[in-house]
Amino acid sequence: MNERVSIKGFRDGVLIALDSGESWQTLVDDLAHRIEGQATFFAGARITLDVGSRPVTRHELSSIKAMLERRGLTLINVLTESKTTLDSAGALDIRGNLTYLPNNAHPSAPTEEMAIPSEEDGSSGVMIRKTLRGGRTVKSQGHVVIFGDVNPGAEIIAGGDVVVWGRVRGIVHAGADGDESAVVCALDMMPTQLRIAGFISVAPVDKRHKARPEMALIRARQIIVEAWK
């Protein structure tokens, strides 16, 4: 095994140390691969991430958080020597600890196991507060929320769920990295094409189409659309 990503179990969950020299995307891909290879070891784990001296941007941290969440893991703590990373963690509501210890040191995370935290963890994504016109695209590894319509010719590709507070007429792909639990919700669902993970469906041609909130999801190996309750 390579040492770009080192993985250890410890009392708070799993400690993952990422090598400072590699590109972030390589590390994220590598880690995703390792998690998938050891599904039972990781199942539902709480993750502490040690990124060492690397300054991690909010976007980078958000992408790894989304990747972990899609695999049922929770990022609870980030150990870093960089103030940038600490700020990124703060912006994403992840606990961050400044540490000057070498990568493999025992983490000095304070334990909060006595109290059940009142705050929900949530997960990250992008919010777009306008109508997506034809030819515009949105791509996110996390969730996508559109506060407006998705017009014909517009396209959304999300690693997670897609929620549209408006009409969907364009193309929507949820769970684009293969997550079959992803859903698409809209106030008025008439997409040109709807994809969830590897499944594709086309809205039936219905002259009497009535606008109503609906949710699309995979059930029994196909995409179904049902009233959104």
Binding site: T131, L132, R133, G134, G135, R136
Partner: protein, 266 residues
């Protein structure tokens, strides 16, 4: 009054950009506005033909940009409306001869002296379109009541948003109200519902438009034409005047119901 640079664009070709530019030009000139029309469709010029000024071209837009002529030399004065000028496009070049910065520089030079600069954009969403919208204070989006034209218009609105340009106002051209009444054509309401932008005018289908364009006499010069009347109204709205939408014989009850599409906050 501060000069306003208005770009007329559409995305799809053949919906009536050049006809609209020519007619709004004449209509604004007849309202005593001092203005310049710029044909930004380099390589496929035709605004000069519709305006009846083809034979008077000596220098064009690219000559000015490349320093072979002064801006003044390329401005052709209209025979009848002496407060109206045309800067023609080059015929033997292509869009790459002009940059967005060139267009901004030329319009900035004109701003001091004129009330309006109207720019006739080429079809498409490439360089020529970007040249035409770069200096725009306001964009007029021309579409026909056809799904393909409306789709392209939607794409243009998205591109203008991305370029941080103001939301365009819509000219719905070549509407046949009898076909709308029979449910065979998209109604203005359908179009506005799809695009969610404000209308500045509806131009009815009018056989006279083609013959008047061919003759170099834009239809607004014909007092009896309904399309001409529609262009005059759009010109007045462009000057900031509040012109109510007529519920005349042409649109019937249709236009009456349209009141709400025009009013309200922009």
């Amino acid at each position: 009054m501060a000069c306003k640079v208005v770009t007329i664009t559409s995305g799809k070709g053949g919906v009536g950009k050049t006809t609209t530019t020519a007619n709004l030009g004449i209509a604004l000139a007849s309202l005593d506005k001092k203005l310049v029309l710029i044909d930004a469709d380099i390589g496929l010029r035709n605004l000069d033909i519709v305006m009846g000024l083809e034979s008077r071209i000596v220098y064009d837009l690219v000559d000015v940009i490349e320093g072979r002529a002064k801006l003044r030399q390329a401005m052709i004065r209209h025979k009848q409306f002496t407060n109206l000028f045309l800067i023609p496009a080059a015929q033997s070049r292509d869009k790459t001869a002009v940059s967005p910065a060139d267009m901004i520089q030329i319009t900035d030079e004109l701003r001091a002296e004129f009330d309006f600069v109207l720019i006739d954009s080429p079809a498409g969403i490439e360089r020529g379109f970007r040249n035409a919208v770069a200096p725009a204070d306001e964009v007029l989006l021309v579409t026909n009541p056809e799904v393909s034209a409306v789709r392209d218009a939607d794409r243009i609105i998205g591109l203008l948003e991305a370029e941080k340009k103001p939301t365009p106002r819509l000219i719905l051209n070549r509407l046949k109200s009898d076909m709308v009444r029979k449910g065979e054509m998209m109604s203005p309401e359908d179009v506005v519902d799809m695009l969610s932008i404000k209308l500045i005018g509806i131009v009815p289908e009018d056989d006279g438009v083609v013959s008047s364009s061919n003759a170099g006499q834009p239809i607004v010069l014909n007092e009896a034409s309904k399309a001409g009347a529609a262009y005059k109204e759009i010109a007045r709205r462009l000057t900031g005047e509040d012109v109510p939408f007529r519920s005349g014989d042409d649109g019937g009850g249709l236009l009456k119901r349209l009141g709400r599409l025009f009013g309200g906050k922009s």
